[in-house]
Amino acid sequence: MKKKVFCLLLVAAFLLSSCGQAATPTTAPEAKPTDTSTAGETVNLSYAMWDTAQLPATEKLISAFEEKYPNITITPETVPWDQYWNKLQTAVAGGEAYDVFWMNIPYFQQYAAKNVLLNLQPLIQSSNYDMSVFYPALVASYSYENNVYGIPRDYDTTALFYNKDLFDAAGVAYPTDKWTWDDLKEAAKKLTTKDTWGFASAFGDRPGYWDFIYSNGGDVNTPDGKVILDQPAACDAIKYYYSFIDDGTSPDGPTLLATDPAETLFPNGKVAMMVYGSWGAGAFAQISTAHIDVAPIPVGKVPGSSMHGLANVIWSGTKHPDAAWEFLKFLGSEDAAKILANTGTVIPAYKGMESAWVSAIPSMNLKVFVDAASYAKPWPAVLLGTEWETKIQDVFKEVWQGNRPMDDQACAQAAADANAVLGK
């Protein structure tokens, strides 16, 4: 009798636990789910994003959309960047992901390849949606196997921010779009005094040494995804970027690693120039103690900059693909781009909508970022999103920490480690 009851309890416990389906992974969602909503029924879509600063703009977009489509309601969800991808992973594994969400290029290929994103190509073709209003580089970045999986939302490019006051104090002419690498070096030397540095060779790929690789006419990878940092065009660029640290015109590597110069040294007027992205323009403009302006990245062999942009995507397992597609179409429309541009935080991916963003900060020559879009190289889109990047960063972090020299071997090691991970 004792054993019977104990066994019954065990059975009950396990029965209850198996009902929870706590660890059983779901099968991959089918590529084309059927829409379970009928006309006239209210549909609720969840929309995930990671930038709380853009929540007000998003809410404006949502209310504009809900006015046009009263039977569709959108619930925005802001997940902080650190947790966004983990949460998305878990949600997909659990079969309950967001209907529409933000996607970025490093993670895009993985998600598209694993059937997590809804293939938008058939929808684009059947509704004759015009994709030519977006920059081709962005559309290509969000295409997988020639099918579009994301509607570009915004883009950002990189340029050279500089502190006008420090330039005036040293009597150096402001950077122009004709500046070369030699001009940058010379100016950095003149701007380096007892208390300030001329340039900050901040540690990072973008903004950072990639921008200089592009401006040297080089590339980070080949079209079929092999990392080519060991080639002279790329390696010389990284060496040039690091050389400011060597000749003292930039703070040393460990200091640059300990804090982000964009948050400390540059706003505090300790550094005269640094390469940064368009998303930082707003914060720099608000610095009361310095006048910051921006110029294109000095030309090595060609004008160079890097471009990245976010896209809105639909989860392939969504129960309301038609409603989600309506929302996505709206988010990619001219009206939506106007709303985004007027909030001044990001440059809309819709061609021609940048003027509102450019005029948002009159004290800065923001047109530089928009011009850069015509020659900026997009984020390298390879399959294994972040691991190859981590391997490269590990090697160059050693260089910045002073544990290894910035030489051909470092470039070769970085390329080899990255290619090993990519299986090339």
């Binding site: 636990s17 929870g20 992973q89 694993k114 460990p254 050693e398």
Partner: protein, 297 residues
Amino acid sequence: MPFLPKSKMARQEALWGYALASPLLIGCAVFFYLGMVASFILGFTQWDVLTPPTWYGLGNYFYLFKDHVFRMALWNTTRYALLQVPLSLTIALALALALNQNIRFRNLYRLIYFLPALTMPVAISFVWKWIYAPGYGILNQLLSSLGLPNVRWLDDPHVAMYSIIIMGVWMSIGYAMIIFIAGLQNIPRIYYEAAIVDGANDWQKLSHITVPLLTPTILFNLITSVISSFQMFDFIYVMTSGGPSNSTRTVVYSLWEEGFRFFRMGRATAMGWILFMIILFLTIFQLRTQKRWVYYE
């Protein structure tokens, strides 16, 4: 094991017992034991979280035994534990002895030493990152003012792990100290009184009465310290990301990176089980050998 007794009243009582304990039992079964079973099985698969797991047999384990980065992680974790545990227990014991005396502000001191144990490791990491910073960090400023060269606390591969160990010791002495104080207060005073009658000095009282009668507490602190030191993660995640040159890479950091950064959950869970086996072995070892040095009254 208490099953149902024969007498009716006792049986009713027992049933009530089971009924009231069942939520916890079921919760444990679902969220703990089932999770353990699932993770054990996942260690034999490859799983990128977005698609279903695929069977991989012992592939993950073979990979890890051959992987020099994982071996480095194991060695770093062991190095961390080997230094942090004895240091923190010795300092904690010394503090406990000191703070068991009747001195002024005793409770305030106890609070101050215990506070790090209550603080979130991430918050601790941010503050120590600033303390260790090159140039403007407090430690380097102190060294500069004394005319000594700066130390690359977190950037020098030979120094970084010791910087982490310092933080680990600082954080854990409070908890061990409190346990030691409780253990000290459990020692009956008559032993000390008898020793004084016999003419024992302070050192003899410490080594012949205090420490022997404290050995159960020491064993407890030893086991819990070893278990938690092998799980060092937070400081590494915030401050060094396993660097420089993988000198601070611990097993749990590698586990996090493989599973949550690189989408390789199968390999990550295999790492977790290897760590579990190591900690289990060490704990059993400590429990089995306790007869040689632990005195129970």
